[in-house]
Amino acid sequence: MKKTNLIPSNRRARITILIMLFGLLALFLFSFVLGRYDVPVSDVVRILLSRIFPIKPTWEKNMEIAVLNIRLPRILLACLVGCCLSVSGASYQSVFQNPMAAPDILGASSGACFGAALAILWGQPKVGVTAFAFVFSLLTVVLVYLIGSRTRGNPVIGILLAGIMISSLFSAGTSYIKLVADPSSQLPEITYWLMGSLSGARMGDVGFALIPMLLGLAPLLALRWRLNVLTLGEEEAGAIGVNTKLLRLVTVLCATLLTAASVSVSGMIGWVGLVIPHLCRKLVGNNCKYLIPASMVFGAIFLLLVDNISRNLLATEIPIGILTAFVGAPFFLYLMMRKERAL
């Protein structure tokens, strides 16, 4: 094969996505086995199926509690958050024609952090913290979009600059809240939230995040081929007959919904939205027809894997946000420095 031909073929892309799906299923089942309380994989399968089919319980009650009440919500949440952050990053990269774009580029994360910190400062329960994070995340991006689209010149650059500015404003706000928070109770809680974690995930969190996540994922999946045209830039895409303004707005809205829903239940988890789409670009190419589904599956695999490490590596749990950076940053550097070759 000639060096100039590096685009994975469509057939190759389809096979890669299929392999990823099987990998995800295997990892999904294996993740239930991990943990301090031993549950064999055969029991895992039967316990899970017993929710749908009438299977006589041959397992201990404790196994069922561990699998259904403790591990299932956490595993589901890891998959959902990984999937959403990764798709959101891939979409932002197309909209802003920028390979360095990530889910927090328009301030969705810094808005969520501010909201969560504020809720903790005001003594809200966990549900309140999640709701505050979600609302502030959306508010921030709406603010960024309104300001950015009113600037003169290139609208894409206007929105990016507004994103950086509003982000730093909210970060400053978060810092101020940390300063005035009660250092014995509130401050550690805020700090821990900011580091990102899936520990203590309950089915309620899954339910809370699921609807906005589906609302964000469905349009992106349906429009994914059209996202390709956005990478051509305003003028060319417009001349091809695409309503760039509407398409960009819909994409940003969906990607923001995904980020807000993810960050509000998991805290700040960086790197997934940047690293996973890039890895998928190497594996299936830049065509969003394959890139978006591949990012979904691979994002879920990645975060589930990292969360398994986070809850099992040490006796005390390591916040997943720290681990994604430990894994993500060196991996990204490796991708950058590696000589290009056919995969």
């Binding site: 060319e236 001349a239 091809i240 007959g241």
Partner: protein
């Protein structure tokens, strides 16, 4: 298919860029727009393509005001072939050409077999079928320009607007691309093309549209209009036209000689 520009004027704020421009373009006609940098060639194109709607005057395609057309209808009427530039993300050549079919592919669906056939047909027409699987971002400038022309053909509009398609090509590719564009005009496309090189207009175009300070300096048959006086006026260069077996050749004079 007929593109008509009537009394077009455009200003960026207080600065008037185009003043009272009128011309038309018929099917099968090759119109070459000449003029120094910053004279408003790109602005003229952007008005026609609908990205600068705040102009005075009227632009019509087959009698319909382009401002009244939807994006889809406009894309059906006029295709734009940009100067080559390095894309942010590399796509295969076939995927690049398929993007030109965005008008035909329904909003929430993917390109079907018939769309792929159209894209392959467009590649065949420009003689770039063998590049189908290659990475667009790694092609040579000439090959990239071929693919962008194929993308415009796949768009199935009959007016092609090209902003200096030869500006970043090497000497041989400039003529290969212009030969192809001439062939497309002979097949019935209306071509509106801006170029830096008056020789290109002289050799390939049916009609010359020379712009100077935002106004039309000359409009008509290139061989009748392109002379030393026009070149001096447009570019501030002394030149003479030397006859050759393939028509006159523009020879600029070197400074101090």
């Amino acid at each position: 298919m007929r593109l008509a520009v009537e009394n077009l004027s455009f200003s960026y704020g207080a600065a008037e860029v185009l003043h009272d421009i009128s011309f038309f373009l018929e099917a099968g006609e090759f119109v070459s727009v000449l003029g120094p940098n910053g004279v408003g060639k790109s602005t003229l194109f952007r008005c026609i393509l609908g990205s600068l709607p705040d102009y005075e005057g009227i632009i019509t395609v087959d009698g319909r005001d382009v401002r009244a057309l939807s994006r889809r209808e406009r894309a059906k009427a006029v295709a734009y072939i940009p100067q080559i530039h390095r894309p942010t993300f590399g796509y295969s050549v076939l995927d690049t050409v398929l993007m030109g079919l965005s008008r035909q592919v329904r909003a929430f669906s993917q390109p079907k077999k018939e769309h792929i056939a159209l894209a392959e047909d467009a590649l065949r027409r420009v003689g770039a079928e063998h590049l189908k699987e290659r990475d667009f971002s790694r092609l040579s400038g000439g090959e990239q320009q071929l693919v962008l022309i194929a993308r415009a053909i796949a768009q199935q509009s009959h007016i092609l607007v090209m902003d200096e398609p030869t500006s970043s090509l090497d000497y041989g590719n400039q003529f290969r691309i212009l030969d192809l564009i001439r062939k497309l005009a002979d097949e019935g496309y209306g071509v509106l093309l801006s170029t830096h090189d008056p020789q290109h207009a002289l050799r390939y175009a049916d009609t010359l549209l020379a712009l100077h300070e935002g106004r039309i300096a000359a409009h008509g048959v290139p061989a009748d209009l392109l002379d030393a006086a026009l070149i001096r006026r447009l570019y501030g260069v002394e030149a003479e036209l030397v006859p050759s077996s393939a028509g006159p050749v523009i020879v600029p004079k070197r400074a101090g000689k």
